[in-house]
Amino acid sequence: MSENSAAHTGTHRDIAAKSGDVLVSCRGLKKSFGDREVMKSIDFDMLAGDITVIIGRSGSGKSTLLRAIAGLTDPDDGTMTFDGEVVFEDSKRTPAWKQVDSHVGMIFQSYTLWPHMDVLKNLTLAPRKRLGMSESAALERAEKALAEVGMSDHIHSRPSELSGGERQRVAIARALMMRPKLLLCDEITSALDPPVAAEVLDVLRRLKEEEGIAVALVTHDMAFASKAADRVVFFHEGEIAVNATPDDAFNKAEDPELKKFIDAVRF
């Protein structure tokens, strides 16, 4: 049985971090692959319910930070806290990480859904196997999650029958099944046409507004960043060069690298 199933009851949700509380805090995160320093002592905070857009050139370390927060990669050094618990220190995950890890969801650019299961099974597999949910409870939660992303009609579809945008919305719904407080999205719209991408990103904005879910999003979509982000973080060569509100980042940019980057992306 799941040792942390108590963490997923309704009561826990009610005492979830309030908007404005620090949800994620990273201090001095370092990571090298071979002799390539991909994160050079990163300090990074995220508030509960905030949308943080992460931008930066290819290879600057954006995915590495997301993967470190997700628990897919361990930094070489530094500390991380999530929801008030120290989850990483002395180069390893703490026991507290296992208590909170299911509140962190992550969505990828491609191959996100499991192609051999229909949408419903994609959604209910983890809650049933990991949280020990009953079939009917999982179904009920799946229906709600699909409604939130506007995919109710596709509950019995196979991933191969869905468009790219629909797949990403189902992937978001699947992440919602675990009642996340934080969704990490790594270029989830990069393979989509702009209007479809906008629909997917709109779902994230609604989740923030209605559910108070924090989102960390790596994207090249500057329109979304300036409209919906609470913070914009600019990565440059393994360091956070700028961490500011969208207005400050885009309109009052002083960092020369950020200026160059914005010019390059805009047109």
Partner: protein, 245 residues
Amino acid sequence: MNYTFDWSVVTNNFPRLLDGLLLTVEISVIVIILSMIFAIPVALLRMSKIEVVRWLAQLYIEIFRCTPLLVQLFWVYYALPTLTGITIPGTISAVIALTLNLTAFMAEAYRSGFQAVPPEQVEAGKMLRLTRFQQIRHIIVPQALKQQLPVIMSLDISLFKDTALVSTIAVADLMFTANKISTESYRALEILSVAALMYFLIAFPASLILSKIERNMMETGNVRGIRRKSLAAQMAPGTKVEVKP
């Protein structure tokens, strides 16, 4: 040729032949099931991050792929008891040797199936906090089996035919029984033809199903879900090749 066929030797001995066939099928089914299960851990060990483990798994696989099955069979039946001091009956020896052999081949098929599963799908499983076992059980294995189904089936068909080798260690399978009847009756032609037919009647339908599955997989491309007729499928005899104006 003035040989007079006498099929009465077949009808008279039919129940014995059926018993032999039954044992052949039983051994095949047990060996196939065991191998399909054991091949999972072996394939995973073969992909282990620990070099020694990977190396040992590969050593096992290569030993069984690069020595004759007959030698493996004799070794388990005659040589292993010398080593362990425990004599094991022929049927058990046969199952052990065939399972060790088929597992080695099966593990390689599984490994390429495992490697074909995009890492993002496994990471999605990790992010939904499925245990390693659950990731393997629900995400990796089903897709790998599906992808490798033609290879797995053809290994199984070969195994079924190769079980005839167990007759050499006095296991009363179909081959052993047929051989025995033909030496008793001097009617090798009738008996061995019927034995061959019996093997054929089981292997042939399986082979037909295999071809059908292969054809389906080719036609749907089976690559990233893109549906397209592969070039080979288009060029197969009897296929209409669409010529664009």
